[in-house]
């Protein structure tokens, strides 16, 4: 865009351009911006009316939130882009998801010493619900996924890895490529995996399997059980179920690293 010049010459030139465009029946951009401003005001009052009637639905019903999000996506609108957006200000959608984002970050941080920054969506869901208390609104897994997608903007390695029928949520910038992901998926069944399982299941060479497992160990995502009968087992704390694990303090975790 260029600045408007001042002076008679510039004014004359502008008038000429305007005339040319109007001749061709094209609406000028600046006229459209004025039009948009008016339409925005109308829309704002429509949204206010909607909010006065249905604002609670958003907070109460995860079904409604899901529908709302999908409709927004269809028309090309991101209701969570900014806390200053209409959707956020008037419907309170923003606060719901941004607060959820805070809770997700806090849960992941609290458990990082134990699972290396990888957690199942189920466990994350449970812990967030627990943290919210009995009287808080219901939060669905879809809600979590949307909040996590927004957190990605802050560059801290938030990501989702499809595993089994659900996802693993990654909250650290550990490099995980296809090989690592595939081994994680293999480990999902039992919570651990061994070199021979990888060789059998994925038909890899021993070196490739060891390389991947070493990386997972180094990143703190896997723990080595060298006393397992047969061959060493690589356990993934992220995949531990409530039944087979107990919580470990950071001090204990430090002592456990070989």
């Amino acid at each position: 865009m260029h600045r408007r010049g001042v002076g008679a010459g510039a004014i004359a030139k502008k008038k000429l351009a305007e005339a040319k465009y109007k001749e061709r029946g094209t609406v000028l951009a600046e006229d459209q911006i004025v039009q948009m401003s008016k339409q925005l005001e109308t829309f704002k009052s429509n949204l206010e009316e909607f909010a006065s009637k249905h604002k609670q639905e958003i907070r109460k019903s995860s079904q409604f939130r899901l529908q709302f999000q999908e409709m927004c996506a269809t028309i090309g609108v991101d209701p969570l882009a900014s806390g200053k957006g209409f959707w956020s200000e008037m419907l309170g959608v923003g606060d719901f998801y941004y607060e959820l984002g805070v809770q997700i970050i806090e849960v992941c941080l609290a458990l990082k010493h134990r699972n290396g920054g990888l957690i199942t969506l189920d466990e994350l869901h449970q812990r967030v619900l627990k943290g919210r208390g009995r009287l808080a609104q219901d939060v669905s897994q879809d809600d979590l996924v949307r909040a996590i997608k927004k957190l990605k903007a802050m560059g801290n390695g938030f990501g989702m890895i499809p595993v089994g029928s659900s996802y693993l949520v990654q909250s650290v910038p550990a490099e995980l490529n296809m090989d690592h992901t595939v081994v994680l998926q293999l480990a999902e069944k039992n919570g651990y995996v061994s070199v021979s399982e990888i060789r059998e299941g994925l038909k890899w060479e021993k070196e490739r399997a060891c390389h991947v497992l070493d990386h997972l160990l180094k990143e703190g995502l896997a723990w080595l059980d060298s006393q397992a009968s047969g061959e060493p087992q690589y356990w993934l704390p992220a995949l531990f179920s409530e039944l087979t694990s107990r919580d470990v303090t950071p001090e204990e975790a430090n002592q456990m690293t070989p």
Binding site: M1, H2, R3, K14, A17, Y21, L28, A29, E30, Q32, I33, M36, S37, Q39, L40, T42, F43, K44, N46, L47, F50, K53, H54, E57, F64, Q67, M71, I75, G76, V77, D78, L80, A81, S82, G83, K84, G85, F86, W87, S88, E89, G94, Y98, E99, G101, V102, I105, E106, K150, L151, K152, A153, M154, G155, N156, G157, P173, L217, T257, P258
Partner: protein, 386 residues
Amino acid sequence: MDRFTWSSGLLEMNETLVIQQRGVKLYDGDDKAKLDVGVAMLSTHQLLWRDMKNHECCISLPLSQIVYFEEQAAGIGKSAKIVIHLHPVSANKEPGPYQLSKFSYIKLSFKEHGQIEFYRRLTEELSQKRWESTPVSQPIPTATGLQAGRTRAVGIVGIERKIEEKRKETDKNISEAFEDLSKLMVKAKEMVELSRSIANKIKDKQGDITEDETIRFKSYLLSMGIANPVTRETHGSGTHYHLQLAKQLGDMLIEPLEERGGMMALTEVYCLVNRARGMELLSPEDLVNACKMFESLKLPLRLRIFDSGVMVVQLQSHSEEEMIASALDNVTEKGSLTAEEFAKLLGLSVLLSKERLFLAEKMGHLCRDDSVEGLRFYPNLFASQA
């Protein structure tokens, strides 16, 4: 169906309603019963059914009459059913809708679903057999079932009616909300299309847009949550909102940063700021966009992105050389350090202490020892003692 007796629908003192389901049609064996669609109710003692249109028509049978039951899956045009096999009629049974039936089983057809939960509860009640431990008094025999229907004043009917009304109202609310939402979305779509048209014109320079108008346009996009079609950012920097935000952050973050060694991960900042606000929270994008403006506003903070993708806010006064020198000093003093050890030493998060060590390594002052035991850093003797 001849096991059923007319009922008032009232529950006894020790009896509790377990579950109810609307849209249930009864079958006498395989034949449709001569009754309309109704509500099936399960209590700890009986199975009841009431006609939805004619509330006075209510029948029941004791759970003790049930031998066993099974599910019948839904088919094309057929609802799912529960088939209930019954003991023979007892001699002193009160009158009911059927005098005689050639079948010894009935079916409940679930036209509005709910069979799964009903089946589950039925299973529970029939295994617990609560009616045996909490006997109820014999219902007062009446001349006809219809007369019994008229004597009820309170009880299950009143409660049921309230539940029904509430459900209708909730349904109505939700469907009205969805309807209104759809209308709203149509208008929002118009705005999106208008903004695309404007953006195209700006690109093709059809018309003369001032800087002022561009800023205004960007703020409209921000309000609607529409991505800027030209730059693909949702709103980018340059809106007044982010300007103000950046200044606010410039004020509020100085102290926390100093307490944390001059650097904080952006996610940490996000939690800190939003917890402090309580409401009207910032979106992650708001935070990033505000931080991007620190430099142009000449505020004493900077947004910094490490090679790993980690984003931090750091104090401008926090010089690079100081960080690297301190890393080298600490490592040299201890002989070697891991990120965790370094973090503990400085009171930093592991994430950030790792980044500092990486930085010092990048500058050639440290060497890494990467093994299964972890990542450990040593002073780079190749450089210093070469």
